[in-house]
Amino acid sequence: MPKNFFLKSTLVAVVVILALLYLVPTIGGGKLPAWWTNTLPSDKIRLGLDLQGGMHLILEVETQKAVSASVERTSQELQRKMREENIRAISPQTGADNTISLVLLHNSDRAKLEDLVKREYPDFSVASSRTLEDGKIKVVLQLTAKAAKHIADQASTQALETIRNRVDQFGVSEPEIMPQSEGRILIQLPGVKDPQRAVALIGKTAQLEFKLVDDSVNAATATKATLPPGDEILTMYRRDHASGRVDKEPIVVHRRVAMTGATITDARVQMDSQYNQPYVSVAFDSAGARQFADITTRNVKKRLAIILDGKVQSAPVIQEPITGGEARISGDFTMEEARDLAVVLRSGALPAPVKILEERTVGPSLGQDSIDQGILSMVVGLLLVVGFILLYYRLAGAFADLALLLNLVLITGALAAFQATLTLPGIAGIILTIGMAVDANVLIFERVREEVRMGKTPFAAVEAGYGKATLTILDANITTLIAALVLFQFGTGPIRGFAVTLSIGIASSLFTAITFTRLLFDLYLHQFRPRKLLI
């Protein structure tokens, strides 16, 4: 037997069996017996979004808004604290660069304010304070850069968590949610049928607020100018279910937020038996329940507006104090809308609004077409190449063809084993590999032909051919591998898929073209001891 024959054939056999084992789940579909799935690989080849359809989103968390909101909250709190400590000032205003500016009426309060800031608001520093012409003092407080960054980072992380929660409840199999640099979030949702619903669900800030309605003002005629101080006009949307028309109706509320949705622990869809309409019931934690009971007790017979992202959902009249720790949000929802609202309320508000930077959606039918066309071109290309090589190199060509087929099995097996994602450019990569995989064998065979012409025996010619061509083959493939690695490093989505299949293809074609065909040659030469090589 040829040198290392058993070792080599065992190696090839093991590799082939492994590849086949990994391929079975993909070929066999979902109908594998239990004993198989329990002990053997059961992962199918993962298809990229461009093949199975789905959605790819890149969102940007507008973290600056979270920072501004935090400054705004501090400014309101500061006003209360100053009143408590008898610091007399004109109400603080927030400005650009995360600043709060306020005007102190008495110079003597300056030290007291500085002391208060140092004690209670270590994240702020006094940026400037100067005496105005009328003797009052203008003080500007600024959020430190470190604190601002902390809040921004926090907002990104929290947004990621919240979005993950929402996607989990949306019911997508194998979603991928990953943080990117600069507060960006990458979301991949394979097989999503209703992309607009997904975007609405993910992108909704879901800032829930309760505000008391000011019924002393006629909302229909109120304008900004005639509005009492501390009030604002919001819009309430009502939809007529029969016609689907949406009516807008102005409503005047107290600007002060009576309560937010921060204490919500659960949200569920329920049916209103009277109107046969879905509504969302939310449950508060104990602190929230107490707060809600307090508000409803003090404002019986008044209306409480329930506001989601600045839009009034409903403004029911408080009939009696609600002490059970539950509130109901009704607002002409369809069943689906109510369910999505429950999801976003359960998973909490986004700390800052998100902006869609990139959106790519592929419909499932297009994905299927791509697979069909990809496989068709692969099969036709393969047949052409296989036929041509067989014609050109005869027996040796048959060896190369076997290697090519094995190559395909190995590539697809490796894709399944590594759980790499197969994309449309990935299929193109495999097709390209088919074309280039024969290169190694062509190099070897051309060498063998040369050696045969020089009068060497078949055995010596094969030996020399493989010996001389192997290093060349390695050199040539390493550079392609370098290009593939760079592609992988810098590419995204489908391009990465291409880089992965290209790399796997290079590795496997090296193995099949050098080791496997050599084995076939060894076997043939040993068994038949031919005088003349069919090459």
């Binding site: 461009d50 890149i58 992309p195 607009q196 975007v199 902006k355 869609i356 930077l357 990139e358 959106e359 790519r360 959606t361 592929v362 419909g363 039918s365 297009l366 077409d369 791509s370 066309q373 990809g374 071109s377 036709v380 290309g381 052409l384 190449v385 041509f388 090589i389 050109y392 449309l424 450019p425 299929i427 193109a428 097709i431 390209l432 074309g435 280039m436 024969v438 290169d439 062509v442 051309e446 010996g467 001389k468 290093l471 060349t472 050199d475 040539a476 550079t479 591998l481 370098i482 290009a483 593939a484 760079v486 592609l487 490093q489 810098f490 590419g491 489908p494 391009i495 880089a499 290209l502």
Partner: protein, 406 residues
């Protein structure tokens, strides 16, 4: 079966003058078409904007679709038929920067459904890229090409000339030069997109320059060939007014890999033949090597083109441009490995790099007579005898030292 007879001897090196003129013209075409089109035709991946692929259940035409999209301010969109005509499939593209992208895909969906009736329109694909992301992607793509070139230059210098030290020096020079240019651009406050182009150009010039000065002839040949291939492929794309997308960049990088693959196989043969070349001039050795590998070159390019043609014809619209780029690249790459990469080896004057001379007196002695002939070398059209003698002495020296490959 044999396409190429074993004793074939075509004088490829002799026709390098014509080849250089042809290549020059092709590169000129690239420059002209790029200028004529006002730069590369960036697809929405790089330019930002929206692309929607829609299929209608009944025949319609581009102007009707534009009219339907007017309420969205998208009547300026580019609407093209896509794929097979009987599919009633269209691509709608809009790269207008002012367009509000938030929720746009959804609005397109609704607007089309309203004017064509529910169920008559199927939105098969939506791609929407914000302007900032587009710029990021553009930079990433250019960076990818840049790093691929750097790494390949270093690998070839090290692997082929056993000059890993010089390769490292070159890598250092390259990184230094690009950092310097980057700093300069930052200091001048130049526009970012332009900065990247400048950076790549610098990288290329520095790489070619460094190869020339350090006399890394194989690396020089390989890099000139791959720049040649990429530039011409870009030119053909620009000439056909095809869009540059992420997939095109992937194709370009693959072409880089393929082009090198081809080049290296010829180079390997040249190095092997140099060991036994005797008094034969370098040009003749190169010619023999190309002829010996010609069969392989044609066969491999042939099978690759065969499958790429299948992909181009049968692969469907989404992959068409990608396949086209690869097709062009493989043709150009095959041509360049024969007519560009190898003849470039003759351009470089023989001898060790200046800095190495003092440290290697023994080699310098061999190299001393060369400068006289080296001047004549690039001008010679067919390999002459005089220049060859010195060259071959060198080759022998080289192979004696480094001929441990087989």
């Amino acid at each position: 079966m044999e396409f190429i007879k074993p004793n074939v001897n075509i004088n490829f090196v002799g026709s390098r003058g014509k080849a250089f003129i042809l290549s020059g013209l092709l590169i000129l075409m690239t420059v002209v078409t790029l200028f004529a089109h006002g730069g590369p035709n960036y697809g929405i991946d790089f330019a930002g904007g929206i692309l929607v692929q829609v299929r209608f259940s009944e025949p319609t035409d581009a102007s009707a679709i534009k009219k339907a999209l007017a309420p969205l301010g998208m009547d300026q969109s580019l609407v093209q038929g896509f794929g097979d005509k009987k599919n009633n499939e269209f691509l709608i593209r809009n790269e207008r920067a002012g367009l509000k992208l938030q929720g746009l895909s959804d609005r397109v969906r609704q607007t089309l459904a309203e004017s064509y009736g529910k169920g008559k329109v199927e939105v098969r694909r939506v791609e929407m890229v914000g302007p900032k992301v587009g710029q990021d992607l553009r930079e990433k793509a250019l960076l990818a090409i840049f790093y691929a070139i750097v790494m390949i230059a270093v690998y070839i210098s090290g692997r082929f000339e056993q000059k890993w030290g010089l390769a490292a020096v070159m890598a250092g020079v390259l990184v230094g030069a690009t950092l310097l240019v980057q700093a300069l651009i930052a200091a001048m406050g130049g526009e970012e997109g332009m900065a990247m182009v400048l950076l790549i150009l610098t990288a290329l010039v520095v790489t070619v320059g460094a190869c020339w000065l350090l006399k890394l002839r194989y690396a020089l040949g390989a890099i000139v060939a791959l720049i040649h291939d990429v530039v011409i492929t870009v030119g053909v794309f620009s000439l056909l007014d095809k869009e540059f997308t992420l997939a095109t960049v992937a194709a370009l990088l693959t072409i880089i890999g393929y082009s090198l693959n081809d080049t290296i196989i010829v180079y390997d043969r040249i190095r092997e033949n140099l060991k036994t070349a005797g008094k034969q001039p370098l040009g003749q050795t190169i010619n023999e090597s190309i002829n010996q590998t010609l069969s392989r070159t044609i066969l491999t390019s042939g099978t690759t083109l065969l499958v790429l043609l299948c992909l181009f014809v049968l692969g469907g619209g989404v992959i068409e441009d990608f396949a086209l780029a690869l097709l062009v690249g493989v043709v150009v790459g095959t041509y360049s490995s024969i007519f560009v990469a190898s003849p470039v080896l003759l351009l470089l004057p023989e001898g060790k790099p200046m800095s190495m001379r003092s440290s290697a007196p023994a080699k310098a002695a061999v190299a001393r007579p060369e400068p006289v002939e080296a001047v004549a070398a690039p001008a010679q059209v067919s390999p002459g005898k005089a220049a060859g003698a010195a060259r071959q002495k060198k080759a022998k020296k080289k192979s004696g030292k480094k001929g441990k490959r087989h």
